[in-house]
Every structure is written in C-alpha cells, then in structure tokens.
Symmetry: C2
Subunit: 244 residues, 2 copies
DNA sequence: CCCCGCTATTTGTCAAACAAATTAACAATA
DNA sequence: TATTGTTAATTTGTTTGACAAATAGCGGGG
C-alpha cells in the first residue's frame, strides 16, 4: 500500500481521497485493517491529528470503522446496502427540507417507480415475499388505532414490496422514495383517519401480486399514490388556509 | 441554536449528528454561518480538535464548507443535486466492485428506469431538452473514432434524456443507473466497434421524444439496453474463455 | 480613487501528553 | 488441566497549547 506525499492544501481531504481510492480500487479489501494512525502519519508525512481528520471523513461515508486495543485499528467497512439506502433517504429529506425537491416531484417519482416495483414483484415474487407482505399488512390491521406503529408497518409493507422486486439496486434507490417520503406520509397518517382505506388498497395489491397479475398490481399502485397525493394536497390547502 | 451536553462515547460523531439535525430541520439555513470552532467547543463542552473532527464528518457529506479569515468560518452548503448524484454513482460502483450488486441487476434496473424516463421525456420535453439531446448526439457522431470522448458524449446523451423527464428526484436516482454503470459501458465502447449502431438507436429515440410518442420512446430504450446487455454477456464470455 | 501595508480573525496543522478501551499473556487456584 | 484474575502493551480518543496560513477590513499615502 503506497501513499504519495501530499501538498499543502486541505491535507485531510487529500489523504481521505487517496485512502478512498485505494478502497474503491480494491487495494484494501473489506474488513482489512489499515496501518495505525501513527504509521499513516509517518507515511503521509503529516501529524496524527491530520490523519484523524482524514479518517473522520471516511467514517462519515461509512467506508471505515475504528476500534481500540491491541487488535484494534481502522478497518475497511463491508458496504451495506441498507446503510447506503438510509443515507440516501436522509439526503432526500434534506433536499425537501431546503426546498431543492418538491413533494409533488417525490410523489410523481413514487408513482412511477412503485409501479415498476409492483410489476417486477408480480413477476418475480417468492413465497417468502408474500409472507413478508402479509405480515406487514397484519401489523397495519393490528395498529389501525395507533398512528405511530401504523406508519412503521406501512413502511414495512412498502419495503416488502420493493424487496419482492428482487433487484438490489432498486432496493437501494427506493429508500429515497419510501423512507425519504416518510415524514410526509407520517404527517398524513396522523392527520387523516382513512387508515382502513390504506389497508384495503394494500390487500388488493397483495392479491394482484400473489396472482402474478402485473397489470392489476400497477393499477393498485396508481390508486394508492393518487390517494396519497390527494391527501397531501388537502393538507397543503388546510395549511394555506390557516395561514391566511 | 441549542446543543445538549454529549456523553462520553464517540464525541465527534454525536456532535456531527446534532449539527446535521439542526441543518436538516432548517434551524440553520443554506449559506448561513455556524459559530466559530472555539465557540462550538465551548457550547458542547469539548476541545477544539474534537469539534474539528465532527466538522470533518459533515464536510465529507458536503453539508458544510470552511473558510479562513475574519469573515471566514464554517458555512452550511446549499445542497447540490449533482454532488449528491455523483456520490450515489460512486457508492453504486463500490457495491459493484465488492460484488454486492451484479451487473445484471444494474442492467435490469436501467432497462426499467430508463423506459420510465423516456416515457416522461416524451410527455414533458421542452425545446431546450431536444437541443441538449441533439447536441450530445452530434458529439457522439463527431467522436465516433475516439472512444474516450465518445463515452463522455454517450453519458451526456443519457443525462440529457433524464433531464428531459423533468423530475428532480429521478435526476438524482439515475446517477446510480447512468453514471454508476459508466465503467461497464466504457469497457464495452472500447472493446466493441458498433458505435454507429448506438448512434442510430439514439437517433430513433430522439425522434420518438420529439414526436411525443411515449410508446416508441420506451421501445427504443428496450432495444438499446438489450444491445448493451448482449455486449456485456459477450465480454463476460470472452473473459471466462480467456481464463480457462 | 487606487494601492499597499498592517492588524485582527478564523481556520489549518503540529507536538506532546494523558485517558479509555481492549486483548493477550502470565500467574494463581481449584 | 481448566478457569479466573491481574497486568502490561497497544491502539484509538481527547485535551492543551502553540504556531502557520489565508483573508478581510481599515488606514495612510500617492
């Protein structure tokens, strides 16, 4: 493992970029240990706090983790799709919070992508997928009067749908669409009592998927997302009215 | 801006999480200045290097930037969709590099999502979108004998298609699918000389979008992605054969 | 008005020291 | 022999203090 001397500008960033490059290239594999902080400081010709700042950059990107003790050190993280997905969901919420992304765009994207997932799920689903969907639906029925738990089960249902698509990259990207939209859908579930409608829509979707009926599955998604969009518009109108 | 005292475990991470939360909630707006490192150290009851380590975490996520001098300090970054997208593409390539994601899954995802984008582009495109597509296509024609530039123009064409969909979240997510697949598609462009086929496929797609013909646009995507998939299988077979 | 030098401010980096967590090795005991 | 307890060594985690680098603003001179 060879690192080149670094120039005088933003040392931690440059060091982090070099280490990141080595990881991305596979020069250091997942779960492998990097040299000690002291050794890295020697190799890069900088101080140990500078190395630590660089390592914090990498830690923030979940590329490494650290541990104390004689068998401790800094280790390369095995990339975790769920972690990356949660980061993506968080970034999406940030974009919404800072008005770089509108709720309408998110809904449109959800309408399109969830149809896609439903179609793939109807085509590809296994028995375990159906069980997961049923289980999430049962939780929704159970918690119909407890909004917080209902929301959680709702996300589980949609997550199970995405998992049933059988495509790992879609699983990742749908974090933006499902978990990223969670604050909005939570707000709606707390505000409006039509949870039985949500449940019956999910039941119809589950039936279509069980039957392998791609067209019906897609149609059910259109219905659900249109319901969600209508509720969201209603909430926005009410907010505007209470502010005028 | 209130921060609570932090417990004794992984201080920089906890501090970074609190600041990130304040940013996501909008308590600190884009381009606003955070307190000085010295002031933050006082408020959190920790040392300045610990604050610096926390800030490096936030910098790694492009949430903040720093500047020296009397009007310097730490500023909240305006979230940039392209930066987030490039990060997503990079994470996707890492997943592929470490075999957590297969090229086949990426191709499947591309087939589905690019059809979606083509459909939306046919419906939503503006004159500027058509110009961008034409321009990218002209670059591809120009560089048909220069693989590197051809690849760059190819990505520009696909990027223009995604932009023509008019949905910001899709723009973000498609970084995983277009730019994330770039090493693979570059390899194919370098290896196989059927660049004129790619160009004619892009021409047919552009015509369909100009005509607002959603069905034809989707069909063109199916053709293109199937060509890409076939070339990829060919490359894998050749690799396997040269290893046996 | 423009240019230059100086000062103050803030981040960037380094050095040194000590604390905290952890593992491995060794000793004692049953 | 197996188990438990203790100690030393190792690595990361945090603090203190000092100085360097970059920068903006202000004042003075041409």
């Amino acid at each position: 493992m060879e690192f080149s001397p670094v120039s005088q500008q933003d040392l931690p960033r440059q060091i982090a970029d070099q280490i990141r490059q080595a990881i991305t290239e596979g020069s250091i594999g997942a779960d492998e240990r990097l040299p000690t902080e002291e050794e890295l400081a020697k190799r890069f010709g900088v101080s140990r706090p500078t190395i630590r700042e660089a390592l914090k950059r990498l830690a923030a990107q979940n590329l490494i983790r650290s541990k104390r003790g004689p068998s401790g050190g800094t280790f390369v993280n095995r990339p975790d799709l769920v972690e990356l997905g949660e980061e993506l969901a968080s970034s999406t919420r940030l974009l919404v919070g800072l008005n770089s992304l509108s709720p309408e765009e998110m809904i449109q994207c959800r309408l399109e992508m969830e149809q896609l997932c439903a179609g793939l799920a109807a085509r590809n689903r296994a028995e375990a997928d159906l069980s997961a969907l049923e289980s999430a639906l049962a939780q929704q029925r159970r918690f119909i009067d407890q909004p917080e738990q209902f929301c959680r089960a709702d996300v589980c249902f949609h997550r199970a749908l995405v998992d049933a698509s059988g495509n790992a990259l879609l699983k990742l990207l749908m974090f933006a669409v499902i978990e990223g939209l969670q604050p909005v859908s939570n707000m709606i579930v707390f505000r409006y009592p039509e949870r039985d409608l949500i449940i019956s829509q999910h039941e119809a979707l589950l039936s279509a998927i069980r039957a392998g009926d791609e067209t019906a599955a897609r149609e059910q998604i259109v219905r659900q997302v249109e319901t969600l969009a209508a509720q969201m518009r209603r909430a926005q109108d009410e907010s505007r009215r209470s502010r005028a």
